[in-house]
Symmetry: C2
Subunit: 316 residues, 2 copies
Amino acid sequence: MSAPETVDICECWARDGLQSWPTVVPTEGKVAVLRAAIDAGINEVDATSLVPPRYAPQFADSHDVLAALADTGVKARVLAPNLKGVRRAVELRAELGGFIDTVGFPISASEPHNLANVKRTHAEHLTAIADMVRCAHDGGLRVIVAVATAYGCPLIGAVDEGVVFDIAARLVELGADRLMLSDTTGLADPVRAGAYHSRARAEFPGVELVAHFHDTRGSGIANAWAAVLAGATCIDASLGGIGGEPSTVEQNHAGETGNIATEDTVVLLERAGIRTGIDPGLLIEVGRTAARVLDAPTRSQVQHTGHGLTPQGAQR
Amino acid sequence: MSAPETVDICECWARDGLQSWPTVVPTEGKVAVLRAAIDAGINEVDATSLVPPRYAPQFADSHDVLAALADTGVKARVLAPNLKGVRRAVELRAELGGFIDTVGFPISASEPHNLANVKRTHAEHLTAIADMVRCAHDGGLRVIVAVATAYGCPLIGAVDEGVVFDIAARLVELGADRLMLSDTTGLADPVRAGAYHSRARAEFPGVELVAHFHDTRGSGIANAWAAVLAGATCIDASLGGIGGEPSTVEQNHAGETGNIATEDTVVLLERAGIRTGIDPGLLIEVGRTAARVLDAPTRSQVQHTGHGLTPQGAQR
């Protein structure tokens, strides 16, 4: 358990952040925010979802959003719900370029949650994932899989650690390049976040761990920090802390849940002497742009107080 | 660095929380919140300040607030700005009872900050503190001293770790029973919060360490958690995250700075399997009462989302 020298940040505003947003955000607003974030130093974005537009009208512009990032040098991650989605991701990569780097999809450690979400048992879903991983790899894409509800499930409560790691091990066998032990609904704590990432680091040495914690109960940054100390090398975060489960969209809209805020996360890391490659001052500006595009309040504290860092870096 | 089995919480709403509040809160409102917090399991309160009412009208009711706590079994902490204030604390303890347990005062590790606040150099202030500690101990009170601006100063920027620990060592020599390496303006990070508390734990073995972090930049809970892992046994927190420096009172009023929120802190700890003795559900109710008394929004996330714990405790 020691702090790394660098941590990568994946900016999730445009996909996980907007996934439950009640209005469709204009493509130019999305692109303006993403390009500004990249200018501030973000080098990976969770850019869009390939869920069909009839289910997710927010992402009907997935092609155009990705096309607008092709010249930026960023790595793009896209969500694909099924094999058809992965095929689409491969097509987009072939058309738009290798910056479309990673395709992602979830499997819930809670089987009832998985059944509710994708109408598949674990066994059925893992069979499907095997095909999805193969297709992605054949198309040159890396694969990130989120083990959702890893710390607890809104439907069934406790989720057994053994089940989480059985699924994670199976995903690694199937070829997952990157893994998230995701806390989508704010049920993690720093003790388990640290323990789970330590165990994953030990059991899956070749796999990149990405810390994915929502701030539903105010402990998201503490959980992500615990995951980083335990071996996660990338943190998912969202400008302004935008995001949240569909069921909590009302709270989300009031700014009360969602991903951890990118601005606060980056300032914490830079202050701790951990380099992110991101300019905190520019990032705060981007967060303001993002709040304007959504006409919504921010959950980032540093948006209000400033980053408080000296020009030389951490004030220490 | 390992998680303890229990952590104490000191509820700071009524003193640190209200210190910069722009309106004087009626005594009955303060008492209602404090008694409800105690009923929820809080066993220490930062109850009031003995700064003279002409400087701090918020605390003109210090006697009555303390008198209303005498039958609760809580331990009360009071702030005293100088020797006269400590004498008043001793008088109040003699009159009202031994539940008035601790008297506290700050010294800024940044000498310019100390000069601005109390018009004394470090040497002058430490001389005064020697008398204050003696008077407190003679009157049966324990002493807590806050080394303010320990992680950085809004006036001078970086604060040398050596100065922080020289002052802390001197305070321990003078008899401080409890010590805070305080981050009043949100300039700490979990690496330094952990390192400073580890060092203090090693150098001052007989002294209780109290974690005092404001959430000015969104990392307050992560910093407090790091301090707990490093040996702090008590956390200062404020219902709804109320509080803040006088200079940031506008932001505070908008709910944008202040102490870490007691509700979120307790839920994090209980979820992590660390017992606080506090009922999270009752505490959330108290936080609602506190928000009503102030007619102000809360910064606590669990106020909006619920604690998500099972009746048996942590959902795990």
